[in-house]
């Protein structure tokens, strides 16, 4: 499996200037909407602490809560399945569909099924899966994975969508009116809800106490898929458990505010039992989660509620796009989850960060994301997975930073250099720091020069 080169992929993303600028702006807009919503709630920080503590408690008792969920869901009339990994998950889903003679599946958004690469598995066995979330559908039709866990096609502009729809579902490729494109999606999917033999959803939360699960969406697609066909399958990662119904008060208040800056998703659905003459099957999926639970530094990432706030605020994510991470999960949360799947393949991702800590400060469940990123860097360096250029630069930096004399000389030379060097030398293709930014003017004196002048010699 080849290593993902995040920097190289990002440089291709940046080349499309209109796209890159819009991407940055759109995600920052989500961040600002999130800020406005959270600042309107006086107890927001208390909610964060509660959410974090509830998740940590649940994860420390996960075995018991999984058993409780299974017992109650089964008593409610749902069928509970288990899957060790992606392959077992796909096989379980396939067997349920096959037993019911399903040929068409209408599916709402689920990162877990992307993680399991379920769609091609089913397609190879003659089952058509229609993604029904607009963003996810755009990505399916364009044969690309989602680039964001909440807004899957956020890297595309309306013209791109018009082109994809024109090529695949026969709309006018020259019409990039957003209302027209959304209406085209509505008209295309509605007949599928009526003819599909099964609907599939993920879940945002699963409640041990009630044996129920919650699906938070906006488009109406998940509930059409779950309430029309007589078979509903929900794939749920084992970390989605919450002990009690009352805990939803905390988490539902936070999820959409963090994700989109809206007080709640338009549709927040609670599935406890199947309708008469219908079936609900729940697949509880491990796929590496129980391993992660045992990692001292990294199990906290299992608190994640997949809101995407860390992605929206991350300067690296906003300027490199989700696809450049080459993984199901991108952005800061992806950077700390992906290496648990494959350390070698994703060894460049923990370096796709400035460690500014913004991700940690917006996280509704208080995952110490930037600290985990730093810990992954240490592990990757220890295991000699660092790229050559980075290694050399770090060796040199280590030498300079460990010697006060060398450091002073370097700082003074750099200040003088920026002033005097011709532009062509600073802003050239070989200097990464001169790209897409103006290097700030150097101060007239260094801190040390200032200190020596004002503080030394006991003048005060």
């Amino acid at each position: 499996m080849s290593r993902v080169d995040h920097a190289e992929a990002s440089s291709r993303f940046i080349e499309a200037k209109d796209h890159a600028e819009f991407h940055d702006k759109r995600l920052w807009d989500l961040r600002k909407k999130r800020d406005a919503e959270t600042q309107a709630i006086p107890e927001w920080e208390e909610l964060r602490s509660l959410a974090s503590a509830i998740k940590e408690h649940t994860l420390s008792h996960l075995g018991d809560y999984l058993v409780e969920f299974e017992r109650n869901a089964t008593a409610n009339g749902m069928v509970v399945h288990w899957a060790r990994d992606a392959a077992e998950h796909n096989q379980v889903v396939y067997e349920i569909l096959q037993a019911h003679g399903v040929t068409t599946l209408v599916k709402s958004k689920s990162m877990l099924t992307d993680e399991c690469e379920m769609r091609p598995f089913l397609a190879n066995r003659g089952i058509e899966t229609m993604e029904t979330d607009l963003g996810e559908r755009i990505q399916q039709l364009d044969d690309e994975p989602p680039s964001h866990i909440v807004v899957p096609a956020v890297h595309k502009l309306r013209g791109d969508v018009a082109e994809v729809f024109g090529r695949t579902i026969g709309t006018d490729p020259g019409n990039s009116d957003v209302a027209y494109l959304a209406e085209s999606q509505r008209r295309q999917t509605r007949p599928y809800y009526l003819k599909a033999e099964a609907g599939m959803t993920g879940a945002n939360f699963a409640i041990a106490e009630t044996g129920s699960f919650v699906v938070c969406t906006n488009e109406g697609n998940a509930d059409l898929g779950a309430n029309l066909p007589s078979l509903h399958i929900a794939s749920i990662g084992i970390e989605k458990l919450l002990p009690k119904l009352e805990h939803l008060g905390v988490f539902v208040r936070m999820l959409s505010r963090s994700a989109l800056g809206s007080p709640i998703t338009q549709i927040t659905s609670h599935f406890r039992a199947p309708r008469p003459d219908s079936e609900i099957h729940v697949v509880l999926v491990d796929n590496g989660r129980s391993d992660r639970l045992g990692m001292d530094d990294f199990w906290y990432s299992l608190k994640c509620i997949r809101c995407g706030a860390c992605m929206n605020t991350c300067p690296v994510y906003r300027r490199s796009g989700g696809l450049s991470y080459g993984a199901t999960y991108s952005g800061p949360i992806g950077v700390i989850i992906d290496p648990t799947f494959n350390l070698r393949k994703y060894s460049s991702l923990p370096f796709a960060s400035t460690l500014n800590g913004s991700c940690t400060s917006v996280c509704p469940v208080k995952i110490d994301i930037h600290e985990q990123i730093y810990k992954w860097r240490q592990i990757i360096a220890e295991r000699h997975q660092l790229p050559m250029v980075k290694k050399e630069a770090m060796r040199l930096a280590g030498k300079v930073l460990s010697s006060p004399r060398l450091y002073r000389a370097a700082v003074e030379a750099a200040a003088a250099g920026i002033e005097k060097l011709p532009r062509s030398l600073v802003y050239n293709p070989f200097n990464a720091w001169g790209r897409q930014r103006e290097v700030p003017a150097a101060p007239a004196q260094t801190f040390r020069q200032w200190y020596l002048k004002h503080r030394r010699g006991g003048s005060r």
Partner: protein, 207 residues
């Protein structure tokens, strides 16, 4: 033979971190008054419409609001419409519904949401397959926030329950907000008191 279930549970139990306490949920200070106004404002923000109780009959109100509607399907005896959910055998029969009418069990002031389960919906799909949805809400049945909503007894025995907040919507293309994504195109909440005695007409099929 170890089953997958036992395998996953054994790994989880072996790896789960040391005991962490479950915090008690505090009761957050909230205003008891002005819930209807807060509800209406929140609903409007989420793209829904709010209407005060009409002077005349509810049927006339719905017809006046949707003059072009051919099929008006009602799940509440308070509105006759052209079809009752009680007559529906398969949820797909609702594909031609222009306007669905239901009565919510309660509303949530914080978010402008209405709470609907299979009891209120008659047929769950009415809230999604209809082009438009009219929801009757008793102004006295509005809880302050989501914490209170999750203390409502209905969750304990509803097979399906939805907190619906405005019409279906998407902003998946360039963040442009489209109201009326794949479910209902509009949501109108009418503040009208519940009939004095709870309706005891023929039990409606929950489908």
């Amino acid at each position: 033979m170890t089953t997958t279930r036992d395998h996953v549970l054994a790994r989880v139990r072996r790896n789960q971190p040391a005991w962490r306490e479950l915090p008690q949920l505090p009761s957050f200070a909230r205003r008891a008054d002005g819930r209807l106004e807060a509800f209406a404002a929140a609903l409007k923000r989420m793209g829904g419409s709010f209407a005060a109780a009409p002077a005349g009959a509810l049927d006339a109100f719905v017809r006046a609001r949707f003059p072009d509607a051919r099929v008006i399907c009602s799940a509440t005896p308070e509105v006759a419409g052209t079809r009752s959910t009680a007559a529906v055998r398969d949820p797909r029969e609702l594909a031609d519904v222009d306007v669905g009418v239901v009565r919510a069990a309660f509303g949530v002031a914080e978010t402008g949401s209405v709470w609907l389960s299979e009891r209120e919906l008659g047929v769950n799909a009415i809230a999604f397959l209809s082009q438009h949805l009219v929801v009757l809400l008793d102004p006295e049945a509005i809880v302050a926030d989501l914490h209170d909503a999750y203390r409502a007894p209905g969750f304990g025995d509803a097979r399906y329950a939805v907190l619906m907040t405005g019409p279906s919507a998407t902003a998946d293309i360039e963040g442009v907000l489209i109201r009326g994504a794949q479910g209902i195109r509009s949501l109108t909440v009418v503040a009208v008191s519940a009939p004095a005695a709870p309706s005891v007409d023929a039990p409606r099929r929950s489908a």
